[in-house]
């Protein structure tokens, strides 16, 4: 690699990172679906998928093949270009935001950071911006299907996502005040001092913000108990009623990719990202250079997995909200609480300094 210029090394390593992360994210999406079906099955006292492969582990492949081979129906009354563009927008926005997530320790090879595709100084704002663009995928899918159920589902989804985006964004302000930066890497580093005690949820005093975030995140991803946009008993399947084959699969993948992103952000902002809960109990070079690079990734994956299991647990436990309850909960409870949290956090920081 010595004969490559710095720009060429940067380009090659970036392409490599993007390829690896994309493949891993798609695999993670496929296996999150399986995890949900298995875990939900056990919650409801049944086995879940168990026929394809050992313990049903090949089920995602079977699902993928089935969806590929299904006929791709296109309703005559549908608005054709938008009908096709909507699932693409939804999936693209869901996958892009993983690009700013630092999923490991600070490891550089030839001046290029390895465990982060792009460390932007406005990483958090980029994630919020991409989430707000993702609304278009759902809004357009419902409208372009030319179907009452789809339109109602997408109206519900859009208004729900816009309403909860406020509470979501405001709940993150306390964390930003603590870290004094919008870069996700800096936010993680600001929590790395004393292990679990310096994480934002404990030592940072952001436990209220965390609960606001996690509730708003459930609403943002249209998951139970806020899954009104696709309430089967009222709306057939909501905004993706008219979609079939791979277009439906893209919406499905977008939902699970969004779940993964939201879990990543929760563990980065409130649970110290890739830092170990034990702090500096173990020496920094424990187990040699390769193992000490892998441990942070394992911590990060464990945290994200815990959040995914929480998502599924909540889905298996709580009933669905009514629509007016959802709206008044978001606007009259979460939003004022998030504002109060900002005021209290900034007062505490001002008094301490």
């Amino acid at each position: 690699m010595s004969h490559l210029s710095p720009f060429q090394t940067f380009l090659l390593l970036s392409i490599l990172k993007v390829a690896v992360v994309t493949v891993l994210t798609l695999m993670a999406v496929a296996y999150t679906v399986l995890l949900e079906r298995k875990f939900l099955g056990r919650i409801q006292n049944r086995w879940g998928p168990s026929r394809v492969g050992p313990f049903g582990l090949m089920q995602p492949m079977a699902d993928g093949i089935k969806l590929f081979l299904k006929e791709d129906l296109l309703p005559i009354a549908a608005e054709r270009p938008l009908f096709i563009a909507a699932p693409i927008i939804a999936l693209t926005c869901a996958l892009i935001s993983i690009a700013v997530v630092p999923f490991g320790g600070m490891q550089t090879v030839k001046g290029v950071e390895m465990f982060n595709i792009a460390d932007l100084n406005i990483g958090l704002l980029v994630i919020l911006g991409i989430t707000s663009i993702g609304v278009y995928g759902i809004a357009l899918s419902g409208w372009s299907s030319n179907n009452k159920f789809s339109l109602l589902g997408s109206l519900r989804a859009t208004s729900q996502m816009i309403s909860y985006e406020l509470a979501l964004g405001l709940s993150l302000v306390g964390v930003v005040l603590h870290a004094q930066s919008l870069s996700l890497r800096d936010i993680v580093n600001s929590q790395g001092a004393h292990g679990a005690w310096s994480w934002n949820i404990l030592g940072g005093g952001q436990i209220v913000a965390f609960f606001i975030y996690i509730m708003a995140a459930y609403a943002e991803t249209n998951r139970a108990p806020f899954d009104l946009p696709e309430a089967e008993s009222e709306l057939v399947a909501g905004y993706h009623t008219e979609y079939s084959s791979m277009k439906f699969a893209m919406f499905f993948m977008a939902e699970y990719a969004n779940m993964i992103t939201v879990s990543c952000v929760a563990s980065l902002l409130f649970f110290g990202g890739a830092s170990s809960p034990l702090g500096h109990l173990l020496p920094a070079d424990f187990g040699g250079p390769i193992l000490s690079a892998i441990f942070p990734i394992l911590w990060f994956v464990a945290k994200v997995l815990a959040f995914l299991l929480l998502f599924i647990w909540v889905r298996g436990t709580l009933p669905r909200f009514r629509y007016d309850q959802l709206m008044s909960f978001g606007w009259k409870f979460l939003l004022p609480l998030a504002m109060a949290n900002i005021i209290v956090t900034s007062l505490v920081i001002a008094l301490r300094s």
């Binding site: 100084n121 704002l125 911006g129 707000s132 278009y136 809004a139 997408s154 859009t158």
Partner: protein, 168 residues
């Protein structure tokens, strides 16, 4: 690299703006406007204003345009009929637009020194965060105008609530 970004997204912004005028369906026009705003955000970013770019995406394309699309969806506005338009619009409109374009470019070119200028991508190479600079100015020098603007927006929200509320 930065020049390529400028050419691509500048072209995209112009194409989106033309498409906005030429499309017959309101929802296509609204989506073209989203494309224009996103390309403008990329241009801001390539000029080193990353915070402005992010707020452009979050506020304009993420919030305001979603409401535009929402309203169009709810009203179920159909395709517009294409008419020849009034003669006066053609007679006055094109020279008027050309005059405004010439005036603006004249002002920008002649007052170049006073306005200040930046290289394309000039700020991308060294890492400065202009978020802290913006917030320092916003909360010290421009505090009063900033707060007055927020009260103005609050008044607008209250007005909308009063107008939209059902009579008891």
């Amino acid at each position: 690299m930065q020049l390529a970004l400028f050419l691509i997204f500048g072209g995209l912004a112009v194409a989106g703006a033309l498409n906005l005028l030429l499309q017959r369906h309101p929802i296509n026009s609204a989506l073209s406007l989203v494309v224009v705003m996103m390309s403008l955000a990329v241009l801001y970013w390539s000029l080193g204003a990353e915070f402005l770019a992010a707020s452009q995406v979050i506020v304009y394309s993420g919030a305001i345009m979603v409401f535009f699309v929402f309203v169009i969806m709810l009203l179920n506005a159909g395709e517009e009929e294409r008419t020849t338009g009034s003669r006066a619009a053609y007679l006055v409109g094109f020279p008027g637009a050309a005059a405004i374009f010439c005036l603006l470019s004249f002002v920008f070119l002649s007052e170049r020194k006073a306005l200040g200028y930046t290289n394309i991508g000039g700020y991308l190479n060294h890492v400065t965060s202009n978020i802290s600079e913006i917030s320092t100015i916003l909360f010290t020098k421009l505090l009063l105008p900033f707060e007055v603007t927020s009260i103005l927006i609050l008044v607008a929200i209250l007005g909308a609530v009063v107008l939209a509320r059902k009579e008891q």
